[in-house]
Structure formats: C-alpha cells, structure tokens
Point group: C2
Chain length 233, copies 2
C-alpha cells in the first residue's frame, strides 16, 4: 500500500484520476456526459498528457467509455447492469470473508471490530442529509469492507474488487440508505465480524453475501423511486 493519505507528492496523473473519479462517483459528471480532455486539463491546471493517462485508467476500470477519435464519456449503467455487478461483488466479498475467517490474524480481527464500531458511531452522529454526512457514512462503510477484505490476505483479489467491482457502489453514492437500512447494515457487520473471529468461513461468507445483496435491493428500491439529490456541500 503506497500512500494512503498523502497529499503533496501526487503525480498530476494521480491528481486528475482522483478528481475525475470523485466527480463521477458523486454524480457531478452525469451518466453519458462527455469528458473533454482540454477542459479537465484547464480546470486542474495541467496539460492534456496526464489527463489522458487518467482517462485510460478510468476506462479500464469501467467508469468511462471512450471511442477512438471521439473522446470519452461517463458510462451509463442500466438497473440490471448494476444488479449484476452487485451479485458479482457479493460472490467475491463472500469469498474474501471465507478467507478472512480462515486466515485473519489478531490484528485483523481488531481492525474489523474497530471498523464496525466506527460505522455505528458515524451513522448515529452525522447528518444524513448533507453531502459531507453521506461521504462520512460511505467512508465508514468502505472502511469496514476494506478491513474485512484485507483480512483475507489475498492481495490480488483485493485489487480486483478495488479496481473492477468498486464501480457500482460508486454509482450508489447518492442513492441514500434509510436509517433502517443503515441499522441493518450495522447488524450484519457485527455478525460477520463474529463469524470471522470464531473462524467460521461458511457463515462469514454467507452473511457477507447476504449483506451485499441487501445493498443491491436497497439500491434497486431507490432506483425505482424519483431520485432525490442531497443538498450540495
């Protein structure tokens, strides 16, 4: 893991990548919207070269589609695309939870419990209606999933999840979870943590699988309602 909270020493490439990724995730670049290299370059005060590299990365991650000589645009996903990716993610994270239950070290277990605690605290304390609140909740959720997945000690699978499968969660960012759903998530986090600690791979895997599918269903419900956007930051 190179840098985690580094801020100074990032290449232009990396800076552009993070910028675009966040803009897309948080919906400021809508689905289908065109990404013009020169505009992004001007906005971030860099040349087109790093912009192009960042776009290539996003393209292979699947966030962006580009056609030769015609530029790049944000990928548009159908409801069923998203559901499929959730299910794929359920399988992979389920697998990682099994591995975690087999391979986790005491440190890992502690990190998992800490992340679960932190999630609880965050959902109680932050204002769900603001962008910052949502970011905090999503970050806390990511932290739990990251702790779990890393406890499985399978770096390549972690990489797959991070680069290829993260995408859909991403588009979920503003598809808010209700307080009830968040509490349910919290309960699942606890159950998974306990199964991992107890060294019960099958249970851990099944619980995680189910937990992710709950996310899919929550997403699906939101998708079918009129979209409500939270207040901007």
């Amino acid at each position: 893991m190179p840098e985690l909270h580094d801020v100074s020493d990032v290449s232009g490439n990396e800076q552009v990548y993070r910028h675009l990724r966040r803009e897309i995730i948080e919906g400021r670049y809508g689905p289908g919207e065109r990404i013009v290299e020169a505009h992004v370059a001007a906005l971030l005060a860099v040349s087109r070269t790093p912009v192009r590299e960042a776009v290539r990365r996003l393209e292979t991650e699947g966030l962006v589609v580009s056609e030769r000589n015609r530029g790049a645009h944000v990928r548009t996903l159908t409801e069923s695309d998203i559901a499929d990716v959730y299910e794929a993610r359920a399988r992979l994270e389920g697998f990682m939870s099994e591995l975690a239950a087999r391979r986790a070290q005491p440190d890992d277990i502690e990190a998992i419990h800490a992340a679960a605690d932190h999630f609880d605290r965050v959902i109680d304390e932050v204002d769900h209606e603001t962008v910052d609140g949502l970011r905090a909740i999503l970050r806390a959720n990511d932290r739990f999933h990251a702790a779990l997945v890393e406890a499985g000690r399978a770096d390549q699978v972690v990489r797959i999840l991070a680069t290829a499968v993260d995408m859909p969660i991403v588009f979920t960012a503003f598809s808010l979870y209700s307080p009830a759903e968040l509490r349910r998530s919290s309960i699942f986090h606890r159950l998974i943590a306990e199964a991992v600690e107890a060294g019960q791979p099958e249970r851990a895997g099944r619980l995680m699988n189910e937990h992710v599918l709950q996310g899919r269903d929550a997403h699906r419900r939101r998708f079918r309602e009129p979209q409500r956007q939270p207040e901007s930051a």
Copy 2:
C-alpha cells in the same frame, strides 16, 4: 465488444497494449522485468505517449506495477496469489454459468456447443509442443469460456472477468496441460454446456466452479515441477 479481428484501424495505444500484453502473457517479458518506455516505443516505431497510455492500462489490469519516477515492471505473482485468483475466477465464472443457464438464447447455446466441438478438434489436431499449438489450444479454451460467459448476458461482469481476472490464466500460458487434463477439460465443457441447455443453473455453476478449480490444481502441479519451456515459434 468493439473490434474482434480488426487489424488495420488500431490506434498506436491499442497496438502497444496488445503487444505488451502478449509479450507478458507468453513469458517473453519475465516476471519482475523492467519495461522501459523508450525501448518499447523504438521497437514499435511509435512515440512514448501511446506507450505510456498502454502501460497505464496494463497497470490497472494488474499485469504491471509501476512506481513514480521509477518506471514499470511486470508483476511477480506468488503461487498463492495465483491460486487465490483462480478461486475468485471460479466464483465469478460459476456465477456467469448460473446466469447462462437462466438467460441463454438458442444462439448462445449453439455457440457454446460449437466452441466445445472446436476445442475437441483442436486438442486432437495440434502439436502441443509448439508455441503455435499452445496458442491454438488456449484460444480454443478461451472461446468456450467466452461463449459461456457471454451467454449470461451480464456485460459488466464480462468486463470484470476480462480486465481484472484474466491475468492469471495468462501466466499459465506456458504451464502446459497434459493430454489427460485437456480431455478432462473437454468433458467438463460438455457437462456445462448440457446443464446450461437444460436450464439448470445450480449444476452449471457448480460444474464451472469445479472446472476452474481443476485448472488451478493443474497449474499448481506445474508450478512445483521444474519449468519446461516449449520450443519457440
């Protein structure tokens, strides 16, 4: 799927990408070997710009690792990395086989059977000891898996498999399969095709899962033997 057998109208970027990918897959760039942009550029008679873009793509696919200001090198995988990726692939392809059994259209079924037939013909006819023979076998195998996976009609998951998970198979290229293993593969292909045609998702998924794990084990056996390289092309 943009182009499949296009050869003329490829951007330099794409050309470099394909070149490097193949070189890595077929082992002419050994694990850990450094990739120097200017050398590749000179070799393919393009500038460094498209080379850099291709390297970024390979990097997010996980074939290559690069460090800031220090260049890129071919990723080195441990035996356990490879085993983990195989298992992840088993889960995802198992999932896709389930979907295929649910969603496949008559065309898809036909393509799957055709690919299975083709695989049989190829393993009977080609010389397993040459690079070209191996390429033909791997291509035939890929064709079966592609037909199956595409029958699941979940483009995003196909993308994930292609960009993130394909990698290990890749490193397997020269880890030859024995004739007995190839025949076993053939049998599994048939069984999977039948389960899909019969609309039996669970069986299709289980069979595919098992089939991929057989691949993992074959790989593992090869890994532990002294490496034999096939004659060069």
